[in-house]
């Protein structure tokens, strides 16, 4: 099993969700996140005051998948969320030892 963590632009959440649903991914966890990579902050002046946003709002998706789905999911996320500009985000993959469905204690891929 693999955990996919994708940090994407807020505006891309809906299209990414749709793209994942299309390839059969139903479950995901979404977090409100803030941060920046090479994309720097943003400054706006309002009524003589400076409002600087060092950390840009992003959303983070977490999905744990059976290994055979990983490449399809990565492809779906990158295709749906890419604008080609700095700030499109990142995807991280990591190994997961096991998963347990709390309701019936089912384990492994079946619990996903």
């Amino acid at each position: 099993m693999t955990k996919v963590e994708a940090i994407i632009q807020v505006s891309k959440l809906d299209v990414v969700k749709d793209a994942l649903h299309e390839i059969g991914v139903e479950g995901m966890t979404v977090f409100e996140a803030r941060g920046h990579g090479r994309q720097k902050g943003h400054t706006e002046f309002y009524r003589g005051r400076e409002y600087t946003v060092d950390l840009i709002p992003k959303v983070k998706l977490e999905i744990v998948l059976a290994d055979d789905m990983v490449e399809k999911v990565v492809k779906a996320i990158t295709t749906a969320s890419r604008t080609g500009k700095i700030g499109d985000g990142k995807i991280f993959l990591s190994r997961i030892d096991d998963a347990i469905r709390i309701r019936n204690e089912e384990r492994g891929d079946g619990a996903l």
Binding site: V10, S11, L13, E32, H42, E44, F45, R47, G48, V53
Partner: protein
């Protein structure tokens, strides 16, 4: 096999058999109160059997040891999966060790029967001692009931120890009970109206019924020094409603325990569907669906919550000196119409409530003072409602009271009280459909009406909040010209949620139209409320896109059109999100909302000079032409070349009036209109453009002692200017002297045509005025922007507001050879925020002219500034 083992097996069978029978009877339409009484009796018979097997063959023995039912068991309320509260009472300290083994065996047998036991072992002296760390135990003794053992020992507990404890610790008990209850209510957001309520612990649940009973009991015991008659404890006026609520809630809780197979009191959506289908607690009532059944639930919960909240307020008043002082201070707010006693409002002449105006004034008073209605006042209101229903107040009178009530700090509580008494849906039937309405989604926690009240409450609370985000939004709220329109929009924004279909916005909009008719709203106010209801999801939608993307900001800001609406929409969005559930407005969302707001506000100020053309495909233009087909050419000539911002800031009736004034310029070269609008005056000037025009009018108004709070200036392609000044009359000159209206207009016309010297007029005025020390110093900031307009240079000046400021600034601009194409003048407290689009010789200002103007403005506006 010993006798206890035989008894265990028999008792297990007995308990299983009887439990199944109770469930069966309940499922066939039985009542909750019967089910809990039967379970109590079954458990009691098991306990007595075990007592005779383990402790004493004689049920009234042994001496100095007794078995006592406390808490819910003591009351005879054993719900299917409730714990069994037992007290092993013994007389003296030494006996505990001797009894230990028997108590352990007794408890063990009960656990083996799978009964959930909450046992306590205490001496009589310990029972009489108040333990601040375990108030619950003292409270549980209020329901103590003899089961077995030494009757005399139990009598000493009930007749002496408990009354002495209550008399001595009355104040502590009431205070602690109040704190525990408030903290429990806080966990549930202090509202009855949850989408999935907890029927035991939620506000208005069974626990609140107990709290009301305990408070009344403690209070009565303190006075009588003995046990009062339990039937007389709760207020007579509410007893019937409470009895009905208790029956309903007992049935509901039994249903939930049986349904979930455990001690779970949450009324989930699935449980609501089943309860409605089986008409739980409501066999004689017409129930069409789960929403109907939930309305019944909320009605009962509201009755319980009302009484418990009232007793929580009233009873501590009798004990706490600080509280009494506070209430005595509050009683000073009494008026000739309403008296305030212990934080409750009483009507001085109860019959006066027949008058709808008095009724509206009562709720305004409540919203203003943050007080509760007394039971007698509520009763009187309920009595007058049937006669009011035939001719409810409406029109401007209703709106006058409603808007003043909505603007008061405790408006949400007044609305809740009006709703609970059925007065609100009577005044505004548009809200009837959302009363206690459960709309199932995964985000909202409250019913639709409570969500709307909560949104209004969140806006009012902004003023006292100290968090960074709340302070920013609180600043916006203070700047609003008509906050009551925002509150009305919040009241109506989800009114369409009761209508079938996915899109509630259209239905809410229809209700808004009928409500606006009912309140006889001014066309401009109606349009604002309509806009806010229609657009209440727009800003949330824009937040889901990139809030730093100029295209997204532009698209959103252009839809909003004017800064005032942007502020209102931003606050509406803030309150709407915050009222979804306590965690909904995260710092992440607040940040995104604020960023979108400031980016859009800046965009609106920096894109004001897009010009209108007669052949534009614009819905407002089409509307204007349809309204005045004959005057079409006149309107086209007037509008040609005006900035699009002009149309966003002025309603259709204004535009028609302005076009007519422009057409009269041939007869009189200075067209002026002066009117009073709400709390300020509005002067509109239409004339041909000339140097120093805007400065001269600003100066003349300042010379008359008027304080300009807002102004805008536009010009069309033919050089006709439309300047509007909004000002307050600091010396009430116009208010007290009607002839001065005409003289002011003449004076301004004289200044414009050069017949009067504005600088001399202003000098006279400024000389006669004392310079008041300002509380807040605002440093002058000057900024030029060449990029935001294709034709002009934008100048933004932020500086300390003061008399004659606009004249001083605009004179400097004119002296530097600059022409004011557009002016957008605002004040925020002591800060003047002026945005001007300038040209020189028909083009943008060059760097040298900008530098010269910057120097001149700094010299003129902020003499102490170094440069």
């Amino acid at each position: 096999m010993n006798t206890v083992a035989i008894a265990s097996s028999e008792l297990r069978d007995l308990y299983a058999r009887e439990s199944a029978r109770i469930q069966q009877e309940f499922s066939s339409g039985g009542e909750g109160s019967v089910a809990v009484a039967r379970r109590t009796a079954v458990v009691e018979s098991i306990l007595l059997r075990l007592w005779s097997e383990i402790i004493s063959a004689d049920l009234e023995g042994p001496e100095d040891f007794a078995l006592v039912a406390t808490g819910g068991f003591g009351r005879g309320w054993l719900f299917p999966h409730s714990d069994i509260d037992l007290l092993f009472l013994h007389s003296a300290g030494g006996s505990e060790e001797a009894l230990k083994d028997s108590i352990r065996r007794f408890s063990q047998e009960l656990w083996d029967l799978r009964l959930k036991l909450s046992p306590a072992t205490r001496t009589l002296a310990e029972c009489e001692r108040f333990d601040p760390g375990n108030v619950e135990f003292a409270i549980s003794l209020l329901d103590c009931r003899y089961l077995a053992g030494d009757r005399d020992l139990f009598s000493r507990l009930r007749e002496k120890a408990v009354p002495r404890l209550v008399s001595r610790e009355c104040q502590n008990l009431i205070q602690n009970l109040g704190e525990i209850t408030r903290s429990r209510h806080h966990k549930f957001g202090n509202t009855v109206f949850h989408l999935e309520p907890n029927v035991k612990d939620g506000p208005g649940g069974l626990r609140d019924y107990n709290v009301a009973y305990w408070l009344a009991l403690i209070s009565a015991m303190e006075k009588l020094r003995m046990w009062p008659d339990p039937k007389t404890l709760l207020p007579v006026s509410s007893r019937r409603a409470l009895d009905a609520a208790l029956d309903f809630q007992m049935s509901t809780r039994c249903f939930l325990h049986f349904r979930h197979g455990r001690h779970d009191n949450t009324l989930t959506w699935e449980a609501q569907d089943e309860a409605a289908l089986r008409k739980i607690g409501a066999s004689d009532t017409e129930i069409a669906n789960a929403a109907d059944w939930m309305r019944l639930y909320f009605g009962h919960a509201r009755a319980v919550h009302r009484v418990s909240a009232q007793l929580l307020e009233e009873i501590p008043a009798a004990w706490s000196s600080v509280y009494r002082q506070f209430q005595s201070w509050r009683s000073r707010v009494s008026t000739p119409d309403f008296s305030v006693v212990d934080g409750m409002i009483f009507v001085q002449k109860p019959d006066s409530l027949q008058d709808p105006e008095m009724l509206l004034r009562l709720f305004h008073f409540m919203a203003e003072q943050g007080l509760k209605l007394s039971t007698t006042t509520e009763y009187k209101i309920e009595q007058v409602l049937p006669s009011l229903a035939s001719t409810p107040p409406r029109g401007a009178e209703l709106w006058l009271y409603l808007q003043e009530t909505l603007a008061q700090p405790h408006a949400a509580d007044a609305l809740r009280a009006m709703n609970a008494l059925r007065l609100l849906p009577l005044l505004l039937p548009e809200l009837k459909g959302i009363e206690a309405l459960v709309v199932r989604d995964f985000y909202h926690r409250y019913t639709v009406d409570e969500h709307s009240f909560l949104a209004i409450e969140h806006l009012h609370r902004l003023k006292e909040s100290k968090t960074e985000w709340d302070r920013r939004f609180a600043g916006l709220l203070e700047e609003l010209e008509q906050p009551a329109l925002l509150y009305l929009a919040l009241l109506l924004h989800d009114s369409g949620k009761a209508a079938p279909g996915e899109n509630h916005v259209d239905a809410s909009l229809q209700f808004t139209e009928t409500c606006a008719d009912r309140l006889d709203l001014d066309p401009a106010d109606r349009e604002t409320v309509r806009y806010l209801v229609q657009s209440h999801l727009e800003m949330s939608a824009a937040m889901r896109r990139d809030v730093f993307d100029p295209a997204n900001v532009k698209s959103f800001a252009e839809k909003v059109g004017v800064p005032e609406r942007l502020k209102m929409l931003c606050l509406l969005t803030y309150a709407d999100i915050k009222a979804v559930n306590p965690e909904a407005m995260t710092p992440w969302k607040a940040d995104s909302l604020w960023q979108l707001y400031i980016a859009s506000a800046n965009y609106l100020n920096r894109s004001a000079d897009e010009r209108l053309h007669a052949d534009d495909n614009n819905s407002t233009l089409a509307h204007l032409r349809s309204l005045a087909p004959v005057a079409g050419k006149k309107i086209n000539n007037f509008l040609e070349g005006l900035p699009q911002r002009y149309l966003r800031m002025h309603g259709v009736s204004d535009v028609l009036a302005h076009a007519e004034m422009a057409a009269q310029l041939g007869n009189d070269s200075v067209q002026l209109s002066l009117k009073q609008v709400r709390h300020w005056y509005e002067l509109t000037l239409i004339t041909t453009d000339r140097p120093f025009l805007f400065a001269s009018v600003s100066g003349a108004l300042a010379a008359w002692g008027m304080n300009i709070v807002k102004a805008n200036a536009f010009s069309n392609g033919a050089g006709v200017v439309v300047d509007t000044f909004f000002f307050t009359d600091r010396f009430r000159t116009l208010e007290l002297n009607i002839p001065e209206w005409e003289r002011l207009k003449q004076s301004i016309a004289a200044v414009i045509t050069g017949k009067a010297d504005v600088s001399r007029m202003l000098q006279d005025r400024l000389r006669s005025e004392k310079t008041n020390g300002t509380k807040v110093r605002v440093a002058t900031q000057i900024e030029f922007d060449d990029a935001c307009s294709a034709h002009s240079t934008l100048l933004q000046v932020l500086t300390q507001d003061r008399p004659g400021l606009l004249y001083k600034m605009c004179s400097q601009i004119s002296k530097q050879g600059c022409n004011i194409e557009i002016a957008l003048i605002e004040t925020e407290g002591q800060m003047a925020i002026d945005v001007l689009y300038l040209t020189a010789n028909g083009a943008k200002l060059g760097p040298e002219r900008q530098a010269a103007l910057d120097r001149a403005l700094r010299d003129g506006l902020d003499p102490k500034a170094t440069h």
